[in-house]
Symmetry: C2
Subunit: 173 residues, 2 copies
């Protein structure tokens, strides 16, 4: 038994992930310790950032999932996209798109329109209220989260580079 679980210094809280990495190595799992720490850090950071983002969006009555759909439409040439394209760009399951569009439509931010050429498909169209909300929500999100992500600009660049590499390796694009 390693002594690390016992050496707790009050007032100097330990990082649980650094702790876990030490335990992993001490247990003989050395070649996986860094990966474990990287993955676990990713999970925690995601949780923290998502909470901040959701808090910024809450006053606007949308969640991050729905905000992403709005912005995709916002930046599309025609202000409308087929459901399938939305799912593809956001890398989420078709049912998640159905769910998000259901709620956006109920809120009067988008509407479903039949696809002109393919009767299977549905086109989602951004309404004026949706565009206004996208502007306002982005303003808040930029100010409270994106402009202050909790790391320096240089670190943000580094983070983007490493995660881009990870996504490319996974075939994300």
């Amino acid at each position: 038994m390693s002594p690390v679980t016992l050496t707790f210094v009050p007032g100097l809280p330990l990082d649980p992930i650094a702790e876990a990495r030490r335990l992993w190595a001490a247990h003989g799992w050395r070649d996986a310790a860094d990966g474990m720490a990287a993955v676990t850090s990713l999970m925690r950071a995601h949780q923290i950032v998502l909470a901040r983002v959701e808090a910024a969006l809450k006053p606007h009555g949308v969640t991050f999932a729905r905000y992403e759909v709005l912005m995709l439409l916002y930046f599309s040439r025609k202000g409308s996209l087929p459901m399938s394209i939305i799912g593809e760009r956001l890398q989420v399951h078709p049912t998640s798109v159905t769910n998000a569009v259901d709620r956006l439509e109920a809120a009067g931010l988008v509407r479903r329109v039949p696809h002109p050429d393919d009767r299977r498909a549905t086109v989602v169209e951004l309404l004026d209220r949706g565009r206004e909300l996208a502007d306002a929500a982005t303003h808040d999100l930029n100010a409270t989260v994106f402009a202050e992500p909790g790391i320096s600009r240089r670190e943000a660049g580094t983070l983007i580079d490493v995660l881009t590499e990870m996504r490319r390796d996974a075939g994300d694009f």
Copy 2:
């Protein structure tokens, strides 16, 4: 309208996040563009990694949330911890702990024991079957995900450092 949405080169797929960063900057949101890209990258990378982790754990019949609880108990001195401590270490809501422990208990991997000194509290105890499953699941997870996280060892170290900084800034530890 920037021409970037039009310049699509078949066979050379664009990174949607790099694309979004360009649109953010082109729209005058320059001081938020890097943060947006960093946060969005984090969300996508989380999604990818979580899917890989869940796939590795599926044969063992546990999810990542439950696996985390098991490993916390696994590395605890007595093989048991109060519910509240579990929630604190994993940084999740008490109801999430209740949920995870419910399922672990139903699977015969842990059991609930009354706290000896505090009748409000419940201690979660790792059973033998739980310890065996933790060993086996960790073996698979180390081999299929943690040892091959999709980035180099040096990048993993960089990622850990940046995310640690981000977590520290958020008061995570």
